[in-house]
Structure formats: C-alpha cells, structure tokens
Amino acid sequence: MITMENVSKTYSNGVTALNDISIHIERGEFVYLVGQSGAGKSSFIRLIYREVKPTKGKIIINDMDLSKLKERQVPYLRREIGVVFQDFKLLQKLTVYENVAFALEVTETSPKMIKNRVMDVLKLVGIEHKAQMIPSELSGGEQQRVAIARAIVNNPKVVIADEPTGNLDPDTSWEIMKVLEEINSKGTTIIMATHSKHIVNTIKRRVIALEDGVIVRDQQRGDYGYEV
C-alpha cells in the first residue's frame, strides 16, 4: 500500500526533516505517527500526498512510484488520498454540503452521484442534519467531521490526518477517533500524526515514533512512549 525506501527530506533552508526512512504500511492498517515537535511527522505526511518531494529515496503509493509521477498526474494521486488537518481547511463561504461536494466536482462526477455520495458520507460522520450550515456556525468537532467527510468522499484507499484532534477538547477528540475507526473498519488505511498520549495508549494500534527525522520505534499495538 505505502512503501518508503531510504527516504530523506532536506528543505531548501538546509533543515533535514527526515533522514533515511524506510517503512511499509499494509492496506487497512491504522498507524499512529508520534514524536516531539519538529520530529518530522508533518513532513512524512506531506511526502505521501506529494505536497513535497523527497530529496532522496523512493516512495510507492498504490503501486504508483512518486518519483516517476509527473506534475500533471499529481491531482490523480490526491484523489486516492484523503487528507485531514488540524485546522480543518474548510471553505468558509460554502455550506457543509458544498464543501464536501466540492471534492467530487473537481473529478467531474455527475450531480446525482454527488448528491448520493455526499449525503452518505455526511451520515457516516454524523453531521447530515447540518448539511446546509456554513463552517462558522459549527463547533470545532463538527467542522472536523466535515473535513473527514470531504477526505473520504472520493473513496480513497488511504486517509492521512495531521493532528486531527489537535484543536479539539478530549470528549470531541474521542468522537472524531470513533469516526476514524469506523472508516478504518471499512478497509481504509489510516495514518494519523498525533501528540495525544491518551488516544494512542487507549486505542492501541501500530505506532511509528520519529525522533529528529529518524524512526526510533515501530511497534504493533504500541503505546505513546513519551512523558509529556
């Protein structure tokens, strides 16, 4: 599903965010990415959806070799990857429905299909009753549900989430985790960067720990492992 071989990333300012990373993630896995601030978690995620290119090494996603991927093919890679962020990244002027439908519009899906599919995912994340509201009328947890709905509406094989609960209170975080688990149980691979010791230690899954751009631990049903 996702393979990295000896991947390094050095930004143009000379900072090496990732150093010789090799990893393999199977279809349907749920992976936590942990590590202190600056360890390279976000860089790892950006490499997967090709926001940045590796300085060295090989990345393969769904049998696509990213080093051979042409610039104009990048959109098609992104349609197979759902991305969720700490700050939701919703379009403020559009309704919940429109925000999610938007991801299908760019793929020229028919309006009828869009309608069915959008209502389905809104139900899945439990926000269908607020479909006609705009983001500023929603709580943080609700906005994150919308963002997750948008990430999965294309039926991607993998969802990557960079601190999806970073801005949410503990109760809301649990609800978001329930949604992500539900999606994972339907077969979607999930990679999630997080600082939440509580979540990692409670919902036990594979843990990949980064330290200064190097993988220091890769453990099935691991725990958070740092004193915060």
């Binding site: 959109p75 349609r79 938007f102 760019v106 793929t107």
Partner: protein, 297 residues
C-alpha cells in the same frame, strides 16, 4: 471537459468580475482605450493601403502639353508618344474636356470652376496607358524628355508618397498600440491577481482534493476573456457609429478617382470583429500571466 463543468467555470469566472469593482472598472477602461486607438489606427492604415493599391492599378499617365504648343506640334507629340516602347494607348483630351471632368469630380464645389469655362487655364492632355503597370514609370520618364511636354503625372508618384506616409503612420501607431496593449494586459493581470490572492486558500484546498491545474485555471480564463469582451463594447460602438458618419460625409466631400473609403459594410463589421478578438486575447493573456505562478502548490 463536460458541458456541466464548463458552465461551472463560466459561473465562477463571472462571479469574480463582480468581486472587485474598481480594478475591474480600471482594466475594462484600459482595454476600451486601447481598442479605440487600435480601431482608429487600423481603419486609417487599411484604408490608406487600399487607396495605394487602387492607385497602383492605375496605369494612366497624364501628359500635360505646353500651353504654347500649336496644333501641328500637338499632333507630332502624339505620334512620338505612340512610338515609345511599352505604350498601349494614347488618347487626346482637350482642355475643355479636362475642365468638365474636374468640375464633375468636385461635385457641388466644382460649380465655382464653371467661371473658367470662358477662359480655360488648363492644358490639353495626352492620356497615355502603359501595357504593363510596372513600366509606367519608365514610359513617363521618356515622355517627359519629349518636346512640348510641360509635365507628366502618373499614379505611382502619389503611391510612393502614400506608402511612405503609411509606413510612418504604421510605425508610430504600432509602437503606441503595443505600449497600450501591454498596459491593458498588465492591468488585467493585476485585477485577476487580486481575485487569485483572495482565493488562494480556496485554490490550495482545490489542489488538495485533486483538482487539476486546468480546472483551477478555467474560471480565470473566463474572467480574463470577459474583461476583454466587456472592454470592446464601447470601441465597437465607436467603430460602427464613427465609421458610418465618416464614410457618409467623406464620400460626398472627396471623390477623386482613387481616394475611396472601404465600404461600411463589410469593413466596419470586420473591424469590429477584429477589435473583439483583440480584446478577448488581451484578457486571456492577462489572466494566463497572473494565474501561472499561483498553481505551483
């Protein structure tokens, strides 16, 4: 691309035009100014070109006979001209005949010339036609050498002057228009840049969910083309109205043999079409310039 998607792009592009009123107004005004000047310039150059071409077709040489020449000398001159190589036809036209032609060609104003009918100041003329238009000059030069010839006139002299003038007009006009076109493009690209900056998060999110560059670019294309087309409305009105006015008034005033304006229909319509096209091109170019660097997300 599907029809539905195209509609969406047109909708988005149109929305953007209304988002920043002042810049939109400024760029439309710039396009309008540019296009009016382009139109005036084109109308001028194309008409002058046409006139020059008309004159070039004209192979007649007017040989003005000395006022002092008597009948015998005039006949002799005619025979000499006929013997020149490359002469096709020689025709005599008396000074009375020349005067009535002149009066006729001047229309109403020609009436003033009727007072000369009693005391005609004009020369008798031999109208000579060369076989090949390009030999006109050589033939004219030979005629000029003959005795009892006061002067020769032929189209080519005028043509050369006209072409000369036309070249100057073209060079100056072109420089002016290029400067204006670039100003217009610059203003349009800035207007669109503002809409893009306002929408940069939106573009980022579009790219995140897998929008292709062309999907993102299309509304800006539409916006640019619309700015250009809106900018060409006033110029087209000016062309149609102005050319109609000039054509109908000009035709009465000056009707020399070759000074003839291109007819309103189809010329004014063709010119309008050209102006519309140039407007749209300016708009699209401006938008392409401004979108390019925002797509590298």
């Amino acid at each position: 691309m599907k029809y539905r998607t195209l509609l969406r792009h047109v909708r988005e592009g149109t929305k953007n035009i209304f988002r920043n009123g002042w810049m939109t107004f400024a760029s439309i005004a710039a396009v309008t100014t540019t296009l009016i000047l382009v139109a005036v310039f084109l109308a001028l150059v194309l008409n002058l070109d046409q006139m020059a071409r008309n004159i070039e077709q004209d192979v007649q040489i007017s040989t003005m006979i000395d006022l002092t020449a008597d009948e015998e000398q005039i006949v002799q001159l005619g025979e000499e001209i006929e013997q020149i190589d490359g002469v096709k036809e020689v025709q005599f036209s008396s000074n009375d005949n020349e005067l009535s032609k002149l009066i006729e060609s001047m229309g109403d104003e020609g009436q003033a010339w009727t007072m000369f009918e009693q005391d005609n100041p004009l020369n008798h003329v031999y109208i000579v036609e060369a076989i090949e238009p390009e030999n006109t000059e050589a033939v004219a030069n030979q005629i000029e050498e003959l005795e009892n010839v006061e002067k020769v006139h032929y189209g080519k002299e005028v043509v050369e002057q006209l072409f000369q003038f036309n070249n100057y007009a073209r060079a100056i006009g072109l420089a002016l228009i290029i400067a204006l076109v670039f100003t217009a493009i610059f203003l349009i690209s800035n207007t669109i840049k503002i809409t893009i900056i306002a929408r940069s998060t939106e573009i980022g999110i579009q790219k995140l969910v897998g929008a292709t560059n062309s999907f993102i670019r299309w509304p800006f294309f539409v916006e640019g083309a619309l700015l250009g087309i809106l900018g060409s409305i006033v110029p087209i009105a000016v062309i149609l109205g102005g050319y109609y006015y000039v054509y109908h008034n000009f035709v009465d005033v000056i009707t020399f043999r070759f000074v003839e304006l291109l007819p309103f229909d189809p010329f004014a319509w063709q010119l309008s079409g050209m102006v519309l096209l140039i407007g749209a091109l300016i708009g699209v170019w401006g938008s392409v310039m401004s979108v390019r660097k925002f797509l590298k997300v």
